[in-house]
Symmetry: C2
Subunit: 506 residues, 2 copies
Amino acid sequence: MTEAPAELAALQERMAELTDLGRIHAMLFWDQNTMMPPNGAGARADHSATLEVISHDKLIDPEIGRLLAALEPWAAGEDPDSDAVRLLAAVKHDHEKAARVPTELAAAMSHADALGQQAWQEARAASDFSVFRDALERHIELRHRYVACFEPAEHPYDVLLDDFEPGLTTAELRPLFARLRDALVDLVASAAGNGDEARNNGVFSGPFEVDDQRRALMVVLEEVGYDPDGWRLDPAPHPFAQSLGPTDVRITTRYDLHDFGVAHFSALHEFGHGLYEAGIAPELSRSPLGQPVSLGIHESQSRLWENLVGRSRPFCGWVLPILREALGPGIPQRIDADALYRAVNSVQRSLIRVDADETTYNLHIILRFELELALMEGALSVDDLPAAWNEGMMRLLGVEVPNDANGVLQDVHWGAGLFGYFPTYTLGNLIAAQLWTRLEQDLPEIDQQLATGELAPLRDWLREHIHRHGRKFPPRELLERVTGDTLRPEPFLDYLRAKLTDAGAL
Amino acid sequence: MTEAPAELAALQERMAELTDLGRIHAMLFWDQNTMMPPNGAGARADHSATLEVISHDKLIDPEIGRLLAALEPWAAGEDPDSDAVRLLAAVKHDHEKAARVPTELAAAMSHADALGQQAWQEARAASDFSVFRDALERHIELRHRYVACFEPAEHPYDVLLDDFEPGLTTAELRPLFARLRDALVDLVASAAGNGDEARNNGVFSGPFEVDDQRRALMVVLEEVGYDPDGWRLDPAPHPFAQSLGPTDVRITTRYDLHDFGVAHFSALHEFGHGLYEAGIAPELSRSPLGQPVSLGIHESQSRLWENLVGRSRPFCGWVLPILREALGPGIPQRIDADALYRAVNSVQRSLIRVDADETTYNLHIILRFELELALMEGALSVDDLPAAWNEGMMRLLGVEVPNDANGVLQDVHWGAGLFGYFPTYTLGNLIAAQLWTRLEQDLPEIDQQLATGELAPLRDWLREHIHRHGRKFPPRELLERVTGDTLRPEPFLDYLRAKLTDAGAL
């Protein structure tokens, strides 16, 4: 290793500042979604916009390009896996991507995102898609202008995907999701026999007071690895996790008085996100490498804790007595570990993505992916979207959509201009299963460990193989380094079939 | 009015951005002191420092000087009381002041403030001043370097004062505080007959659970003007108020299980601060004029609600049944409105500033002011500070100081390098009394209004005369505009003597 040139330190300093600004933005987001009084929204929009402009200006500063160019010859002689060389690659990616988008377009998109969210809210409240259609059309038009800023991609959707899952292409994703779709449609046809049962089959129906639910969550979370000195748990209508630093992790959950399962699984889900952010190597934390590498990998961590751990037979056996003690008699005596395990793994056709079970969930996503592609390709007009939605819900899930509010308007994403985002939810499920396959080889006693709440080995494995690297390796490379495998749906499908069989749903 | 030149809009845009950054900084501060997990402190220090550097760089940008210069001829022809002309004056003040301090010195001061706070914490925990002495010496040395950046002032302390109370001089303050001191020492000698009684004389001794206290506070606060859609109330060990915008006001309070009066009066105090920030004219809010004009004026608003309203006979009569209903039987039956009024106006010699009553409080401040002057003048060495403190406490308050923790180390201010700050607490008391004298002329029914909880006229008066102006008029000018009077202690002393007599303490 040769001595690093002065330009590296200069670049690192700029990146530390930009990372701080990103963390501050996360702080504003967290506050807005947990603490802010409703009337604070106007001023908050100004604050966010100001931070965004400052960050953008700093990221596209031509001096960054100059530093990168000056460092290139040096980097060529360094270990390609060193933090410094990987940092340069990440900065180059971010800088060039940001610099290609004219400030005027970035501002127009940001503005349309805010307006679109508002239009979506009104449309959903009125359950009337027509209130939202103009905003959606504007979003799509702006996405085409955005795509046009970059080198022509094989598919325009590739550019959108890259913002959430760097390097993934439509050409890869389309056949992969098609395979998954066909298999899941078959699975649901066999498994969803009990379509009119309540979610979680009433095991957690309580009712349970929010304070009691929170206390129970904290017992479980502290057992699985929540650190009270470095984490917070707050209620939020749309649960999320946010990290303001590796030792300041904020997770949220939502409470349903008549279904503790909602809080339980959303807390485990957000815990998985939080643990990822908490596990990034401290030496990366004030740099662009100190972030989760992609939404798909991020989601693999949350899904792993929510589903592969939280809905596993051994974990159900371990957690039931803890919950029974914390929640008192609200859990019926007839429920034993096996009943819990079956209940939280039932398959039900349903209308709403965020309420869907592990199996049907991915069909909700695939529908959105297909529709986004069709919209971007121009094969589907905005006006025809509701009908296409309703047709897709029937085709994929066998569900009749009663109205727009519970159909095409159910998610905020399209209102906020987030196209290319939805697929990462399913990627998370696929990747979690691929990681688990590998992890079971390294931790042959994992089932027994889950059964006794001995979760340190699992946490250590995840930190060692995924978390600590942050954004150092692109998602594709990270997955291959850890699993020796490429992204594919079969491990997920194998896992699902085995579990559904074991849980009596197949 | 001539058409405003383009430079004005350019300046306003820069100032809006800077104001946003200031609000974001306030957000970080609020979070740090209410929500942040303890281990978040390290990353938070980075985030704050980054924001500070960016703000400082933007404030000293020579382009601001150019815009100001270009606008001068135009401003000369405008109404000197217009928002635009006053904005230029405020920007000029801030820009020139910031530009005079070399970045290296600003960084050294910021660094010393952080280290000083840490040293102070350790010293206070050990009750050992010697642990803090080096940090304090460094602070004073840096303040001398800071003072030297500016045009020579009549007294070096003037420069420090100006950061908190713009335009106030040592030459004015010294004789004013001397008059106040002499009168208060006499007052305390007559009134503090009951020195061994508990604060609030046991009326609120409960014990009361925090949840019950909070519920009672909310009833009172919503009656006096707290807006649930635009405000928050949270617990904090050192209560403060922070506004992230005129419709996002965060106040805090602290709870003592055995004295509800602590929460009650600190909530009224912070409510006064919050109401000021909420009342600033919306059209000023994204500019340097959209801020409280000085700490003294700010404190006048909190003291007014805490003391002139909250400890008045009519308000005590109004609030007692409300508290009795909210707090249940924890308030003894023997307590009637008169007993409450007497209890919350008793005079007691005490060691700790933040626990002091309305009368003795100012002697705590005057001691700190005298010591700060002596330290800055070199008349007192750092090593002699504890002895001077103890001597002063005996001389002014007749109190024996048992140890450093409850003496010279009790406040965070000197640890954090805040010199020139303490006087503003007493200024707040003096100004509140001067405002009240004027307000009684405009609102002759104020006592009856307080007695019936009809507080809109008072809030409106404060908004009209103080709040809405923000920082438009310098504090001296604002006071004279509202009261026709200059800063002086007599109205406060008159008010205090009258109340102590009425409450049976004199």
